[in-house]
Symmetry: C2
Subunit: 235 residues, 2 copies
Amino acid sequence: MGDKIGRPKAGQEPLNRERILAAALRLVDEHGMEALSMRRLAAELKVDPMAIYYHLPNKRAILAGLVERVFAELRVPSAKNKAWQDRVRAVARAYHGLAKAHPNLVLYLVTDRESAAVAALELNEALYEALAEAGLSPRMIMRASDLVVDYVNGFALAEVSGPVGQPGEWRELLALLNEQPPEQFPALRHVFGSLAGKDLASGFGTGLDIILAGIAAIAANANKERVSPEEGNRG
Amino acid sequence: MGDKIGRPKAGQEPLNRERILAAALRLVDEHGMEALSMRRLAAELKVDPMAIYYHLPNKRAILAGLVERVFAELRVPSAKNKAWQDRVRAVARAYHGLAKAHPNLVLYLVTDRESAAVAALELNEALYEALAEAGLSPRMIMRASDLVVDYVNGFALAEVSGPVGQPGEWRELLALLNEQPPEQFPALRHVFGSLAGKDLASGFGTGLDIILAGIAAIAANANKERVSPEEGNRG
DNA sequence: ACCTGAACACCGTTCAAGT
DNA sequence: ACCTGAACACCGTTCAAGT
């Protein structure tokens, strides 16, 4: 940040991929996805629009570069001494942090599996390690890991699609509910009634807790079966 | 509604919102999101591009109409006699079915909370009913419901972002893994090694199972606490 | 009431040219 | 090697006009 009139060189150092992506990310973070056009980006860089094409082949490459760049910020915490639950939580939080840091890019972060692939290796490695420790089978490790990633993606998306702040969709749901005949949607009304006025912090952690409880239950169940497959359980 | 007054152009019945949205959906389903332009849509309808603006104010309205239309297809199965787990599964599957039916629209289905709101009422009502039966507190009902929805959204997105068929991201991950130094990512290698050759059906159901196990565990735990809050557990 | 057509302000990208 | 500028084929949308 902090670029003002006092640039280091009024004569402009040469353009490069790095500088283009930095400007593109600033544009997206500050003015949203729709502000990112080749022409506007060029204006930001004080350069002819076509100059960009010398460094990056097309707009898709810019988007991909952005996703790659943001995922490169991901630092998976390696708390190997902690319980597997906390390790999963740490990975999920780190990943979710990326989305929070660049909300306007979330749709692409979540969509562009290709550009995220390198970072995904680290992320999955950390998850697989933790989940192996939980006692899951290889198949279940993969499934549970996918579940965590899908959840973070879905949650991040919801955070960003909602009108302004609140995660989940319940704010506008409530408004709509009040327009419906009062005998309809009793379950919704009961829950919203019980919760009225209470301030609910972000549900990210709670969702994660449910998932972790599920993993623990499945792991325990698998263990029981492995200990005494057909002879009955004597634990 | 209106009959053939004024301008039947070569046998066409008059344009209307319905016909425009139908054509738009066909365009998206068959040729992807990027094929949906006002001009191409008009060509499809054999009409001047500006004719569309008489029936729908702008392109955003078309997208919103599409999302609304697809969500209107949602029929939440009302298997009230079944176990709560099966009821949650049924809702999740119904919702997921929409995404599968219109993969090119998934990004918007998942993003446009506003247009989906009416259908979201029914969907959440069904989830809340089932989750209440599971014995969750109002707060937990809301959280668990959000978790299920976020998971379905995340899963649907992953299904669509991947290169071709497989859900999850593991196909390209594996290719990338083979390019890495062999001492790195041992957990990934172990899991993928164990799973090589086995054909893994879609993980949608397994992810759901983990979530359901988590909900059951949390409900059981809450019950235990409620039965004997400070006196210790004598179960 | 319903549709057309020209016009405007944008896009991404190609290609030839300038230094 | 790096950048410019004109040109092309598209966009979404406004506005005045036609029936």
